[in-house]
Amino acid sequence: MTQKPPQLKDISQCNKCLDFSPQIPWPLGLPAVAVNGLVLAGFSQTVVFDHAVETSDKETIAGLFRSFYSELSAVELANLESKVAASDITWFPVDLIFNKFQVRWNDQTKNICRLIANLPPGLQKFSSERRWSIGDFSPLLAAKSIRLESFYHVFIERNLSRSISVQALELCVELLLIGKDQAELLPLPQEDSDHWLKRLRAIRYPQTTSADEMANTLMKGLPWPGTSTARWTRQGDKAGIELKLFVANPLDLKKYAHSLALVSEAMEKEGPWKKH
């Protein structure tokens, strides 16, 4: 717990080295907050409430910090970590603070944070706005030898969603590491983001894509009942036919059963369903 009431000071008397550029601005009318002369929030204010807390009371310090921020993105946490690492402050409980934001603190997290903190500011802003998690940046751990700026540019320029940009990052890292040419991986001028992602997946999973395409073509040639819709679809490690039927009365079902028996016979004669 705080040992003494906080002292109101001019911010110039405190250390602002932890200014990690939090996204949500501090309320204008409130003073900044510091612990033991170290500003934790409200870095652009002119006056500060400085709390004196035993530096060994890490839980109180972490709790105080947490109370100023309802949430912090991975980028904000990474920037905070990098500010702490660059400072000579040894008592600031960065591990407890990460835990309080539901991020497990360990070497892996630290490594990812260092990578995030070195990302171009544009991508930091983009990923922070889309609430990328620490784990979403994991592909960067293997990407130290490759250039990804062109892909970052695509993410920002095309205003991609979190889901698409996170998937695209991992696919691009893997494909570049496999040895694919960057030009082959960048989106085509008229290609929308869904099609781009689909194309990246096709390059990353060539055999499965080709098997699915072949099965799809074969499936389309089967004698499906006129009013049904059949679609080749993949659900994780399984691929198969999704069939939609419209039944208005029991007779419809009988007709479908008869027609589907013919489909079944045709399937057993060719393609991946062929009986051996």
């Binding site: 893997e174 994780g236 490690d237």
Partner: protein
């Protein structure tokens, strides 16, 4: 000292011995084998328990540091596959964990997403493990329990140091209905070949196509070395088994696995092999990051086409799995000798894959049902439930 043992010892940069293990048989053996400047006595776990996944650097380092300490929980547990009974068909396999981590370095190793201690660990209180087994035996000596020691550590690659095999084999000689299974990718067997046994010790090898051993199983014994060690064990009356697991796709996979089956069947008749288990590549989704960081994307494992599957692991497309299983099984069937076939089963696979491969589930297969018949729960299971 033998060259293999010297090389094993030189692999470790440091050995930490917990004060509580001082005077244990294992600690004495370590003191006998390792240079004293590599040994340090400590209290607790050096580096502490790690929360969450380890970094690639920590994982690499953990292979070079050995920690000797007593184990405080239950040694004897069910195989993790049995916790997914709804999704997977699993055999009645029990595990006795006498340590964790491995001195070899396979790209697909599941320990990469499992371990949380920054050192390799060997437990110094094997007598407690034997007490647990004895307690179980007092209740169920007549039931066919299969107990393996190679779940979170290779059973034999460090056995020349620990000599655990020489304590377990005599124990299992007292309980002939039970089976002890060592599982290894090493060729280290000479240290126990002279032990008296009751014919209920299975020495098993995880084996693979030579191309996969070369590209993915770093630091392991070569195929011919593993098979030669297996032959040596068979000739001394031990049972042998093989785990062709994980089967990994690579451009010449059919030739590779066909060659593997040829090599096995040239050296062993069907009645000389206890069982051949098959499994295809699988791993936890979060493991892909550390594998990518440690092995790049030129590996057949990291570059594999994997999809989310039952049990939350990533696996090959189910049609490819079926093709791979059928291919390997057909190769095995083609080697049947005078009507006798090699006994095989699938490890940690879904009921659909079983049925598409064998046309039945394991309980309907007379050769296999003994493996899959439910057995009474053991103490550690009960402890886990409460």
């Amino acid at each position: 000292m033998e060259k293999a043992l010297t090389s094993l010892i030189s692999n470790f940069e440091k050995v930490w011995i917990d004060e509580r293990s001082r005077g244990s048989r294992l600690a004495l053996r370590i003191n006998e084998l390792f240079p004293s400047d590599k040994i340090e006595y400590t209290s607790g776990i050096p580096g502490g328990i790690h929360r969450g996944e380890m970094s690639a650097a920590q994982f690499n380092q953990s292979k070079k540091q050995l920690s000797i300490r007593p184990f405080e929980g239950y040694f004897f547990k069910r195989c993790p596959g049995s916790t997914q009974k709804k999704a997977l068909n699993c055999c009645n396999y029990y595990v006795l964990n006498l340590g964790q981590q491995c001195n070899m370095n396979c790209s697909y190793c599941y320990l990469q997403s499992y371990l949380n201690t920054p050192t390799m660990v060997m437990y110094s209180n094997i007598e407690k493990a034997i007490d647990e087994l004895r307690e179980m035996a007092s209740l169920h000596a007549h039931l066919p329990y299969r107990v393996g020691t190679g779940e979170v550590i290779d059973s034999l690659s460090l056995d020349e140091i620990t000599l655990f095999s020489r304590e377990l084999i005599p124990f299992f000689a007292e309980f002939p209905k039970w089976t002890l299974e060592f599982k290894t990718k090493s060729a280290q067997v000479d240290q126990f070949l002279d032990c008296e046994h009751a014919g209920n010790v299975v020495v098993s090898w995880s084996i693979n196509a030579p191309q996969i051993i070369e590209s993915e199983e770093h630091g392991t014994a070569r195929l011919h070395e593993r098979l030669a060690a297996a032959r040596k064990c068979k000739d001394r009356g031990f049972q042998v088994a093989f785990h062709i697991d994980p089967i990994i796709w690579f451009p010449e996979w059919k030739e590779g696995y066909s060659y593997l089956i040829d090599q096995i069947t040239k050296l062993f008749r069907p009645d000389e092999i206890n069982v051949i288990s098959l499994g295809t590549l699988r791993f936890q989704p979060e493991q892909r990051h550390i594998m990518r960081e440690r092995f790049g994307m030129k590996s057949y494992v990291t570059s594999a086409e994997m999809f989310p599957s039952e049990g939350n692991k990533l696996r090959y497309d189910s049609a490819l799995r079926k093709e791979m299983f059928n291919f390997v099984l057909n190769q095995l069937r083609s080697k049947a000798d005078s009507g006798k076939s090699y006994r095989s089963f699938l490890c940690m696979e879904t009921p659909e894959t079983w049925i598409s491969t064998y046309e039945t589930g394991p309980m309907q297969n007379p050769q296999l049902k003994d493996y899959f018949r439910p057995l009474p729960k053991v103490n550690s299971d009960l402890a886990n439930i409460s």
